[in-house]
């Protein structure tokens, strides 16, 4: 009784959101663990234990998928962190057309990923594409961006960075704007220049922003799917398959139990990588 009196609002207010969360988030998550152990046609299922996991791990393209997923996540995340920071620092300094430039950087984020993928795969056509036409006019023979098995994944990663760096920049801008001006004034009195201001104030004090960017970009990279599907569909062959595209292909083929097992594995893989990373990053954060 006394506890109830202390609260202004009743827990019953949580009920609508709670039910929705349970039905649409918690329940499917729990069920997916179950269905990953069945052979499932969406209407009927037979329990087969861990057979799906065994099949999934014996998939020939899986090792490629795991390696590609890691490479893709690390490359896109790294570039977004570095480019985002540089752009963020640049766009918070006193420059002309600041607002205009900020919107230009953010603009690709607003576009549909599929549309971006289709547009870039057209521009990356080995002989008629815009990229290689421009390179040819400079006397350089451009590579087959999406057909060359060595660079296809990186080509897609570059497009991902082009599209996603805007979000990173906005987070950095918010973080950098929150740094009190007094620090910079103190540095000026001590005779520091812009260069030392960036290294000694902006960089260490935007660590919280940087951590958010790292976590968001890394998890985003690990579970990335739409862009790679729009540009290469995992091809040529299986060379640009990510874990997510392998799962999708199995779902497409009607192997629902197997695809669910793949999703459980992806869930575990993302958790295993992301949680320690998050712990590590927050521990070393500097408080303002």
């Amino acid at each position: 009784m006394t506890k109830t009196k202390m609260r202004t609002y009743s827990y019953f207010f949580l009920l609508p959101a709670g039910i929705i969360y349970f039905v649409f988030y918690l329940l499917p998550t729990i069920l997916s663990f179950f269905f990953s152990m069945t052979r499932w046609t969406l209407t009927k299922w037979t329990y087969i234990g861990f057979e799906n996991y065994a099949t999934f791990f014996s998939e020939t393209s899986l090792s490629i998928g795991f390696r590609n997923t890691l490479v893709y996540a690390v490359v896109t995340c790294g570039l977004k962190v570095v480019l985002g920071l540089l752009l963020g620092a640049f766009l918070t300094s006193r420059i002309l057309f600041k607002n205009y430039l900020r919107s230009v950087i953010f603009f690709p984020t607003l576009l549909s990923t599929i549309a971006v993928g289709i547009a870039f795969s057209t521009m990356m056509h080995p002989s008629h594409g815009m990229f290689n036409t421009v390179l040819a006019s400079l006397g350089i023979t451009g590579p087959d961006w999406l057909g060359n098995t060595k660079i296809a994944l990186l080509s897609v990663a570059m497009v991902d960075v082009w599209k996603g760096v805007g979000v990173a920049t906005v987070i950095y801008i918010a973080g950098i704007s929150a740094i009190p001006q007094e620090y910079y004034e103190a540095l000026k009195i001590d005779g520091g220049n812009n260069y030392s201001a960036f290294w000694n104030i902006t960089l260490p004090l935007s660590r919280p922003a940087m951590n958010s960017v790292i976590i968001l970009a890394f998890i985003g990279g690990l579970r990335s799917f739409d862009l790679i599907w729009a540009m290469t569909k995992g091809g040529p062959g299986f060379t640009t398959d990510l874990i997510a595209s392998i799962i999708y292909k199995q779902y497409q083929a009607g192997f629902y139990g197997l695809a669910t097992a793949g999703n459980v594995i992806l869930f575990i893989a993302v958790s295993v990588l992301a949680f320690p990373l998050y712990k590590f990053l927050t521990k070393s954060e500097v408080n303002l």
Binding site: T4, K5, R7, Y9, S10, F12, F13, L15, P16, I19, I20, R39, T41, L42, T43, T46, T55, S58, T60, H125, P126, S127, D144, L146, G147, T149, K233, G234, G235, P236, G237, F238, T239, K249, Q250, Y251, Q252, A253, G254, F255, L258
Partner: protein
């Protein structure tokens, strides 16, 4: 005191919120149902929905049939267009499983059809009078557990090599009977500065033809391949005759006979290159002729067709693809109208309207429907294989086992990432999953 009163109030408020949400969801559904209800009662016209893929000219031909049928039967068709290939399979399976399928569906026959759980989703039409005119060769590929589920859409189709006759005449080449002769022709074509073998791996499905269209040759050497394959007794990688299909892709790649940028080339572009003579051989289905007719009609007479050559001159025949099937959704509310529509579609009148829009890519599977005299020259090239009895249905029509990743594996082989042997091994692994999903004995 105040707080205890607020508890029931909060409870009521939350319930009201829930109800509002649910009403919001339900309202949309009710409104939609109401709409169709009133439309039906005012005009007395029945409207059926029909799902069909967007590749080729089938859609246009079906539209023409639908327009005629609307006049005759007062049944209108609302088309629901789906993508083809893997994306389309995905969509169809999901819509079937969620009970959201259209009244009618045009979909593949054979193994892909069997993967849909036909008994659960489609109406049994075994004893419908309109099925009497359909040939048994077609009925077997839309049959599951002794019941027939579909009517044929269009003509059969052959897999082999489409070639440019004009270039053949210019270079003094003759139609090859063996694989060695074919490769010799390729060498001469390459020397003449043209693309010998067209590949269009941007549309990944087109990469499978050398394997799939080789099945006549496989069957001629290993007559029981299909049954043993279904029973998990033979494998592609360990059956030399079957492995040849994969090796053929590898050989063509290694000799450098393929077009530049083949990974970025699409089906339509490859057909255009074939029509202009820029490329000379295109391993493809004869239904590609329809696309040539639509895009470059002036060149259609330059295109010929021959069966995929085997290693021996004694074995020379066509691998045949059955037409797609037209299926009725088991849960349709307009079953009678749907049957009436199928009856009209299969009738000679309906078939005539259909054939006016899409020319035959091979013989028809309806009794009395013969190839018209103005058929494509390439289709006439196929006739002698039929007359001699040198044809066999593709593996997907005699075995339910077809792996979903064949197209990616053949792209890998055809672009030098993998070898023919490795590709065949990968494919053997790939089909295992499909066989297990279908609960086939022996897997």
């Amino acid at each position: 005191m105040k707080m205890t009163k607020s508890k029931p109030l909060a409870f009521v408020t939350s319930i009201v919120l829930m109800m509002t949400l649910l009403a919001g969801c339900g309202g949309g559904g009710n409104a939609a149902e109401g709409d169709t209800g009133t439309a039906g009662s005012t005009s007395k016209k029945t409207t059926l929905t029909l799902m069909v893929g967007n590749t080729g000219t089938t859609l246009e031909a079906l539209k023409a049939v639908a327009a005629e049928a609307e006049k005759k039967l007062n049944i209108a068709i609302e088309f629901d267009i789906k993508p083809d290939g893997g994306e389309g399979d995905n969509l169809v399976k999901t819509r079937l499983a969620t009970g959201d399928m259209d009244d009618l569906l045009v979909y593949n026959t054979g193994s892909l059809f069997l993967a849909l759980n036909p008994e659960e989703h489609f109406m049994d039409v075994t004893n419908e009078p309109f099925m009497a005119n359909v040939l048994d060769s077609f009925k077997t590929v839309v049959t599951s557990n002794g019941k027939v589920y579909g009517a044929p859409v269009g003509s059969t189709n052959a897999g082999g090599i489409l070639y440019n006759k004009k270039v053949y005449a210019d270079l003094g080449l003759s139609v090859p009977k063996t694989w060695d002769e074919f490769m010799a022709n390729n060498e001469k074509i390459k020397a003449a500065g043209k693309t010998a073998v067209l590949a269009s791996y941007k549309d990944t499905w087109t990469s499978q033809l050398f394997v799939l269209a080789d099945f006549y040759n496989v069957k001629a050497q290993v007559p029981n391949f299909a049954t043993d394959y279904t029973a998990n007794k033979v494998k592609y990688a360990t059956t030399p005759a079957a492995l040849r299909g994969f090796e053929k892709i590898e050989e063509v790649y290694k000799k450098g006979y393929m077009n530049k940028d083949f990974l970025a080339t699409t089906y339509d572009v490859a057909l255009k290159m074939l029509a202009t003579g820029e490329g000379v051989h295109y391993p493809m289905l004869s239904s590609g002729l329809d696309t040539i007719m639509a895009n470059t009609p002036d060149q259609i007479d330059d295109i010929g067709f021959f069966a995929q050559p085997s290693d021996s001159a004694d074995i020379n025949g066509l691998t045949i693809w059955m037409p797609s099937g037209l299926y009725i959704n088991k849960d349709t509310k307009n079953a009678d109208a749907a049957k009436k529509w199928l009856d009209y579609f299969v009738s000679s009148e309906g078939q005539a309207v259909f054939a006016s829009k899409v020319k035959a890519a091979g013989p028809y599977v309806i009794k009395g429907a013969t190839l018209p005299d103005d058929s494509y020259g390439a289709v006439k090239d196929m006739q002698h294989y039929f007359d001699e009895g040198h044809t066999a249905p593709a593996l997907e029509f005699v075995s339910p086992v077809k792996g979903p990743n064949l197209e990616n594996i053949t792209v890998a082989v055809g672009s030098g990432i993998s070898t023919g042997k490795k590709g065949a091994e990968d494919y053997d692994k790939d089909v295992e999953k499909q066989a297990q999903q279908l609960n086939l004995p022996g897997w």
